[in-house]
Amino acid sequence: MDIVLRGIFVFVFLYVLMRMIGRRELSSLEPFDLILLIVLGDAVQQGLTQDDYSLTGAFLAIGTIAVLQLVVSYANFRFPKLRPVLDGEPIVVVQDGKPIEKNLKRERVTIDDLAAAARQQNIAKIEDVQWAVMETSGAISFIKKSGS
């Protein structure tokens, strides 16, 4: 029972934490982020199973997290009104070649970040972008102006 309760707590805590830190952090995976991810995984494991090395313990921990993930995913699909809370919503960051400053600021994205993301999509100039949308994953989708 203890491991299942720990699993539920860890899942809810991580879910809220991920929603709290914002999508900008989720989208980037710099070397330091990768190290943080490993450290985070190790810290979570310690709290989750502690000194339990059993296969049963691992099954309960993994099973709890998998079922909760399924529940969240189903709730997202079944109840559209929950999506903004559970998954977030896309944000338009460029309209007709013009960056939307207040939306960029809200997501802590600089013009440099935006330009870098555009370059990765083979777009040299922001002004060639009709729409740029920051998705719930943190990735930025670009739709070019027709003819550019």
Binding site: Q50, D96, V133
Partner: protein
């Protein structure tokens, strides 16, 4: 200017109806920070504190953490100062000291150990006037040992109760 599918300019550009999300995020960040601050202030253990009880015959000091977390290794130190000659020093610990905790070692080994009316007793032997006796107990908390329990300590000389210290230990998950 075609708007991409599923993009609502009011909601996704002007952010209409999303005013609550920023305050909620800041409240969550503040709550998390408060918990971290409490951790820094030792609310969740395991910094030890000293409790003292004194009488004309002896003084007893207990140096141990009152707040713990599952899996932690920690030490409890009991110091007996004999102001008069103590012939048969006995330390009595309430069962909370051993409940779901691994007692890894006791140094120095007591002369005798046993149970007295459900409490743990350690016979330490005689302590001459002006001398000090220190007993070290090393513990590890079982991860499932969550909650609060009594961890009182009493000092006896034979069957005579000299001093006692009331305390509790709280174990966080």
């Amino acid at each position: 200017m075609d708007v991409p599918d599923q993009i609502d300019l009011d909601r996704h550009l002007e952010l209409a109806g999303r005013g609550f999300s920023r305050p909620v995020r800041w409240v969550l960040i503040a709550l998390t920070s408060i918990v971290l601050l409490l951790g820094l202030l030792n609310v969740f253990g395991q910094h030890p504190s000293t409790l003292v009880a004194e009488s004309a015959k002896a003084k007893l000091e207990v140096y141990a953490p009152a707040h713990l977390r599952g899996g932690l290794l920690y030490e409890a130190r009991f110091t007996v100062f004999a102001r008069e000659k103590l012939n048969h020093v006995v330390l009595l610990l309430s069962p909370g000291w051993a409940e779901s905790q691994q007692l890894n070692t006791i140094e120095p080994s007591p002369v005798a150990q046993g149970s007295r009316d459900g409490d743990l007793y350690f016979t330490l032997g005689p302590v001459p006037k002006g001398q000090v006796y220190r007993l070290f107990l090393e513990f590890q908390v079982n991860p499932t040992n969550v909650g609060r329990r009594r961890a009182d300590v009493a000092l006896y000389d034979g069957d005579t109760r000299l001093l006692s210290i009331k305390r509790t230990i709280t174990v966080y998950p």
